[in-house]
Symmetry: C2
């Protein structure tokens, strides 16, 4: 347990790059892609519970997914599930959770842990959060920076600075965008660039102070909604105020601005983190057979001289002959084939379908 | 019209290399792969009818496919459809058709034209058959040899010899097996190797004389069955005698032995012939869109940066992103993916399924 710790799980985002597995109505965090048949959401909650009691765990999700979340986390207190009336990106979601925690406990430390990430080394993850919580006690916003293991172009990076003098914590110089391959190689070689895993720990009051300073409208909105929840009229006020809040990510809206003022610290952590952002990453996280083939809900695969494929099925027999490193998705309504090294471009399919008015496939 | 000409269409063979389109119960000759929505069988019959009246066209097929053949060729006289009680390869089928034709007309010229081939240049095809029929009048067995246009390794070849002095006809030195790539190149360069298209024209009595000489049991069987058909008891005798006949191809069982005795002639013909033996060939015969993509029963294909694929569907949406030269088959029971350049190996899938007892997929 970590004293006063209120972990927050933002469970949002449909993950267009995992289309057609992940759909608007069935986002990837609901899928059993976590260990031992658990969904990513369930695995995320389970990972956090040794650090906080269940009645301090807060989940923020879209109204459309609230029932599915309740089903997957049946013991979560009803008041701890915050259902967003409409998508406003991560900024309002995480700020509201901080405001709710703060309304319950003025010394609350909250943290944000995406519902659709994988963490392989749970003890290291717990140690990193404990260290981050200690740093957060000083009033800094703290992020856990993951030591890169490859020149990944699909993640953002954190450029770290001087040691802060609290454990292994470092100052954050700045957050940097997803790099190209060459830049990613230089980051990997530099030693002072860590992966931005979007894992945050902070005192709720410290975050809310930054929100008030940078986005006063957002501050006014989330504190009013939190007060209404405390007073029993949360849902109505939430629905009323939510559409008026700025649509902004927590990174761009709050954390980057705080970093520019030297208000963000970083705790490095080798926690075995993966953002299952696309098919290729999914294939690297799930167990492969001795042909390097990964299957997902495929009962009947005949693999003849094929290697490195990711096959997701829906009951039909799938036969692969002589193919390499393909994604093959066999769904009830759509069959999708693409090379793993084009996995980053799957969002373009979703855009093309949206442009074509094919909402039934999104 | 060609006098006394009884064209024979052997409609057999499930074509394992076109699996899963072609199945045991639904062989490829029934599919609308011919021009203008006609099945290959219908296109084959239509191509022959300018040379012979419909009441001289003979079709030999497996009992399991007889109803489908009748449906596709509703005007074919019932007596002209010979339904094989069990598969005995092409030798018994073609010999029986010759015997039936001979029982109706002692001067019958028969010819064998596979139900699942494509012929693009019909006037040249007609001219070649007329020339072959003239040569056949001399008592030789005559084959039409197709001038090779590429070093094809999927076809057998005919090594031609001296001119016969009848039109452009040449002696046949020998039939040669499917070559490897290098040998195929040398055949193409040689000028005296033609593709063996399995197109035969001969006097029925000349063929039957060769059958009697080489396979007397087969001769006795097919003449007895033909006599029974003429006498009205064909079906019973056919069912009784058929299982006793040797299982042999017309090439190996009869024509090669005749060639060794100098009894086979060859008429070269540039007839635009293709044996749609595999997916790659099928893709080269069907019309492609401007991305080189060929579709078959696909209503809804989203093609993003993909080229040269062959897509066969069954109603679902198919989405291809960034793939090249793949076969993608989306069936009701099976999804199959393989590169076009592995098309020759599709038979191995059928063997693997058979070995696994997966008869429902064959």
């Amino acid at each position: 347990m970590i004293e006063n710790f209120y972990p927050v799980i933002p469970a949002g985002g449909s993950g267009t790059r995992l289309w057609p597995l992940s759909r608007k109505g069935r986002p990837k965090f609901l899928f059993p892609l976590g260990e031992a048949e658990r969904s990513l959401l369930q695995a995320t909650a389970r990972r956090l519970l040794p650090l906080a009691d269940l009645d301090r765990l807060l989940v923020v999700t879209g109204a459309a997914h609230a029932d599915a979340v309740r089903e997957q986390l049946p013991d979560l207190p009803r008041a701890n599930l915050l259902a967003e009336p409409s998508p406003r990106d991560s900024g309002p979601a995480i700020a509201l959770a901080a405001a709710v925690a703060h309304s319950r406990d003025p010394d609350a430390i909250t943290g944000s842990f995406a519902a659709d990430h994988v963490v392989a080394d749970v003890p290291a993850f717990h140690a990193a959060i404990r260290a981050a919580a200690e740093v957060a006690g000083s009033g800094l916003l703290v992020t856990i920076g993951v030591t890169p293991t490859r020149p990944e172009t699909g993640y953002g990076y954190i450029k770290t600075g001087e040691p802060l003098g609290i454990g292994a914590a470092l100052a954050v110089d700045r957050f940097v965008e997803k790099p190209d391959r060459e830049t990613a190689r230089s980051y990997l070689a530099s030693g002072d660039h860590l992966w931005n895993a979007g894992m945050f720990i902070w005192r709720a009051d410290a975050l809310l102070a930054e929100v008030r300073r940078q986005l006063p409208d957002l501050y006014a909105g989330v504190t009013a909604i939190a007060a209404a929840y405390a007073g029993g009229d949360g849902t109505r006020i939430h629905e009323q105020l939510w559409p008026t809040l700025p649509r902004v990510s927590i990174d761009v809206g709050i954390v980057e601005g705080a970093a520019a003022r030297g208000r963000v610290g970083c705790v490095p952590g080798d926690v075995g983190w993966t953002d299952i952002g696309d098919w290729d990453t999914l294939g690297s996280v799930l167990p492969a057979d001795d042909t390097g083939t990964v299957t997902l809900d495929v009962d009947d695969l005949l693999n003849l001289d094929s290697h490195g494929c990711i096959v997701a099925g829906s009951g039909r027999t799938v036969v692969l002959l002589g193919v390499r490193d393909l994604v093959v998705f066999d769904g009830a309504d759509v069959v999708f084939v693409c090379p793993r090294d084009r996995a980053q471009d799957v969002g373009s399919v979703v855009r093309a379908l949206r442009d074509a008015g094919r909402d039934e496939l999104l």
